[in-house]
């Protein structure tokens, strides 16, 4: 068994914390008392009664403002691997915190909001990943549910991002359409993509 350290990056509200929450929830790595606490706190009742982002947004200011300020670490294991996840903030003024988490990562998941496409923070985080020589990159095109799981939207973003890649030193890049909110292609393969 070895350790995989990965980080989630991307712009504000692209769903980084929700993605991690979904990953832990669907892989049954949330314990009962944590789940109860989550249910009590959640304001967003749409996602099956709980707001998954609350799992990693551990500071009071973060919960109040609904944003991630500093990087949070979460841990889970499968029989094959121990995973160390860094949930990074998306705001530009917290970039130093994002780099803190990214510096030890072997893999970076860069989220892109399917409705927004490639934005400034997508580029910034990609440049950082390139500077830090992070060996593996996953581009998760999120919120596919909000664009009716459209293949065209997905293809366009892949073409746009390929432009970004041209000037960067990133090699092992994979593209995955996901919906963190609904759990499409997070732990289980989705039939909708």
């Amino acid at each position: 068994m070895d350790i995989l350290r990965f980080i989630t990056a991307g712009s504000v509200d692209d769903g980084k914390s929700t993605l991690i929450g979904r990953l832990l929830y669907d892989s049954k790595n949330i314990l009962i008392d944590q789940l109860e606490q989550l249910e009590r706190q959640s304001k967003n009742k749409e996602a099956g009664g709980i707001d998954l982002a609350y799992l990693t947004d551990g500071l009071r200011a973060e919960r109040e403002q609904g944003i991630t300020i500093d990087v949070a670490y979460r841990y889970f294991s499968t029989p094959k691997r121990k995973f160390i996840i860094a949930d990074a903030p998306g705001h530009v003024q917290y970039t130093r915190n994002m780099i803190t988490g990214a510096s030890n990562a072997n893999l970076i998941i860069i989220l892109i909001d399917a409705r927004q496409g490639v934005v400034e923070q997508t580029r910034r985080h990609s440049i950082i990943a390139s500077l830090l020589n992070i060996p593996h990159v996953v581009i998760a095109i999120n919120k596919m549910d909000l664009v009716e799981y459209s293949q065209d939207v997905f293809n366009d973003i892949v073409i746009d991002y390929a432009e970004v890649l041209k000037s960067l030193n990133l090699h092992d890049v994979h593209y995955i359409p996901v919906s963190a909110l609904n759990g499409d292609n997070i732990v289980e393969k989705s039939s909708r993509t």
Binding site: D2, Q34, G58, L59, A72, N97, T100, S103
Partner: protein, 302 residues
């Protein structure tokens, strides 16, 4: 030629040993905060490995609430003897007298919060610039945010919104006069990692981590040991149960779990199967408010 690879416990161990050596190199007067629990026992074990064949180059400090499990104290003294470490004990009792603080009241009158005063006084008295703690990021949401070298200001306070960058394994221990650093070598370990490591190294633990018969009362679904430190009401029913402890804190704020696990293997198996978190199952003091730990940390707590 065979490939040199570390398994995951060895990777964690290597990281922790590196952190210990960084602390010893960067600070003048570090201390290791020792509670007698499994995490601080693991810390001591790692510190010995980091500096072997020499002795641990800093003292162990126990902030003693006076509400300890006798088994944990016994174990502490035996361990210190065995490894020839320097143990410094500071008592919360003394702080209460010296600062004229009010002793907490109630059923489970916990001195847990008062420890902060004793800790801050001790830091000042010993002029220590780094306190090494066994905090783990998987324990609690506020801890999950903390750096490995976490700077506290001259009042011992943590400012979670203004943490320093901490890249790769480069730890920045530069501080101003009066500030100190809390260093957490096992930040990236989970509860299960600690247990697996203890099993792998056959590290000795206080007996209360294994199943034993004990008189307890049930309070809001948690089993609390009968001791002189808690108030037993007429409505309480004293039960005899087979229990073990998952964490070892004060007798006033640590709950036991029912168990028949008497060997390390059995305990590890139970930890794997459990669906409740360590703090959720055994800590009475975290439930008070949503941000209980964050608030305590801001105030100077471990």
């Amino acid at each position: 030629m065979s490939e040199y690879r570390l398994d995951y416990l060895e990777q964690l161990e290597t990281e922790s040993i590196h952190i210990f050596r960084e602390i010893a190199a960067q600070f003048e007067r570090p201390v290791l905060l020792f509670s007698g629990g499994k995490d601080s026992i693991t810390l001591v074990h790692l510190a010995r490995k980091a500096f072997a064949p020499g002795k641990i180059p800093f003292p162990l400090v126990h902030i003693d609430t006076g509400h300890n499990f006798p088994e944990a104290l016994e174990f502490r003294d035996r361990l210190v003897d065995q490894i020839g470490a320097n143990l410094i004990v500071r008592k919360v009792e003394q702080t209460i007298k010296a600062r004229n603080l009010t002793e907490p009241k109630g059923k489970f009158a916990s001195r847990n919060w008062l420890q902060t005063y004793t800790l801050l006084d001790t830091i000042e008295e010993l002029k220590c610039d780094a306190c090494i703690g066994g905090g783990r990021r998987d324990e609690e949401k506020a801890r999950a945010k903390e750096r490995i070298f976490s700077v506290r200001d001259e009042f011992g306070q943590w400012n979670p919104k203004l943490q320093r960058p901490e890249l790769w394994s480069t730890y920045n221990g530069r501080i101003h006069k009066g500030e100190n650093v809390r260093a957490f070598p096992i930040s990236n370990w989970t509860e299960l990692d600690v247990w697996n490591y203890i099993r792998k190294g056959n590290i000795a633990l206080p007996s209360i981590y294994f199943a034993h018969e004990r008189e307890v009362i049930e309070h809001e679904g948690q089993l609390v040991a009968v001791s002189p430190f808690i108030r037993i009401d007429d409505t309480d029913v004293i039960l005899k149960k087979n229990v073990r402890y998952r964490t070892v804190g004060d007798m006033t704020c640590t709950a036991a779990v029912e168990s028949n696990a008497v060997t390390l293997d059995e305990v590890v198996n139970e930890i794997i199967l459990t669906r409740i978190s360590e703090r959720g199952e055994t800590r009475i003091d975290d439930k008070v408010t949503e941000a209980a730990m964050e608030d305590r940390k801001k105030g100077g707590y471990f």
